[in-house]
């Protein structure tokens, strides 16, 4: 079993979305996060992880990825690091979380120190600035493309309304994210629980 956690009762195990996932070698885990760490310009970590973990390797299913994404945003800490800890520890326990986070932070750590050195030695370079600006635009484009793919999972009117409301309130109106999420998430879960309860009875 993949979990190191005390998750032992039968029925819960069977509904565990990770129960069917393969055991991931630590080195593979780390190398995926390493690659994402290097490539994730313009805040595109989530998009890269979706591509590498869900689409290409099938280590997580879509629902589980979205859970990880929301929790990573709401809990304290940088989203890329939180996603690494979440996914790594789900796949390989605490050591997996540490390996994933190290893979995710290591390359950008080296890159930013190198950029900092160049910046201090030679001042701001117009070409470097332009290239990084272009890569950031690609990163945002990638995030949007993944956003549209994920949005196809949200079909019913109420969930669609919640997704749109969140974008408008947090994105366009700049209300603080945490309180908005703390109100809309329980509402959304409650609606799903209600619908699920009706379907079960």
């Amino acid at each position: 079993m993949l979990h190191l956690g005390p998750n032992r009762s039968g029925p819960v195990m069977n509904s565990d979305p990770l129960a069917k996932a393969p055991r991931v070698p630590l080195l593979d885990l780390m190398s995926v996060f390493f690659r994402v760490g290097v490539a994730s310009f313009g805040g595109s970590t989530a998009a890269w992880l979706y591509r590498e973990l869900v689409e290409r390797r099938g280590w997580l299913d879509e629902e589980h990825f979205l859970t990880a994404l929301t929790l990573a945003q709401v809990l304290p800490g940088a989203n890329p690091v939180n996603l690494s800890i979440y996914v790594g520890s789900q796949l390989r326990g605490g050591i997996g979380g540490a390996a994933a986070a190290l893979g995710m932070v290591g390359p950008p750590f080296c890159i930013i120190l190198a950029l900092g050195y160049l910046y201090r030695a030679y001042g701001a370079s117009a070409v470097a600035h332009a290239v990084l600006g272009g890569l950031a635009a690609v990163g945002v484009g990638m995030t949007l493309s993944i956003g549209f793919k994920l949005a196809r999972k949200v079909r019913k009117p109420m969930p669609t309304l919640i997704a749109v409301a969140l974008f408008v309130i947090v994105g366009l109106l700049h209300w603080p994210m945490i309180p908005v999420v703390l109100v809309l998430t329980p509402l959304s879960i409650g609606l799903e629980r209600y619908a699920g309860g009706k379907a079960a009875s």
């Binding site: 760490g37 989530a46 929790l71 809990l75 940088a78 950029l115 945002v140 999420v181 699920g196």
Partner: protein
């Protein structure tokens, strides 16, 4: 002397780590206050430059902590500041993940995961919009963003090829 500086780095960044609800943007103002006004490690414009650098580079923007640590106590300072900004929050996340997966029945788990879906989707779009706004984008970048999103959705062109071509084009444009 250097030990004192390293300890100060930990004392500045570790509490910020635990306060960074929702990501780095939540603490950047506090960080600036600590680094510029309280500790005088950097001037305001220097901090702004490093912040722009940390946004342009891949990875989380809180890696600005590494640049500040480097400024204060060299390479070891960069490592210590980075660990201080990530380890406390990571322990919280690890604890939350273990707790959540140890304690729940499957009906609620299903509702929880389906209920988080629209929230996550809304946040993905809000995040993309926030990056566009914060970066003072020009028209070319907006066009690039839309074009890349379209290419990724409707074609099978690889992302690495797109990144290489974009980097080349943006670089060459500087010489026109």
């Amino acid at each position: 002397m250097n030990e004192t500086r390293l300890l100060t780095l930990v004392l500045v960044f570790a509490p910020l780590s635990l306060l960074s609800f929702g990501g780095g943007q939540a603490i950047i103002a506090d960080m600036q206050h600590q680094v510029v006004d309280v500790r005088h490690w950097l001037t305001g414009p220097e901090f702004a430059d490093l912040f722009a650098l940390s946004r342009a580079a891949p990875g989380p923007s809180t890696l600005i902590a590494a640049l500040i640590g480097w400024q204060v106590a060299g390479l070891l300072g960069a490592v210590v500041a980075t660990l201080a900004i990530y380890i406390p929050s990571s322990l919280v996340v690890y604890g939350a993940v273990r707790w959540w997966h140890a304690s729940k029945d499957s009906l609620w788990r299903g509702a929880f995961e389906r209920g988080l879906m629209p929230v996550a989707v809304g946040l993905v779009f809000a995040g993309a919009y926030a990056v566009l706004q914060a970066a003072h984008v020009n028209a070319l970048q907006i066009i690039t963003t839309i074009l890349v999103a379209g290419l990724l959705i409707y074609t099978r062109i690889g992302i690495y090829l797109i990144m290489a071509v974009t980097a080349l084009l943006y670089g060459l444009l500087q010489f026109l």
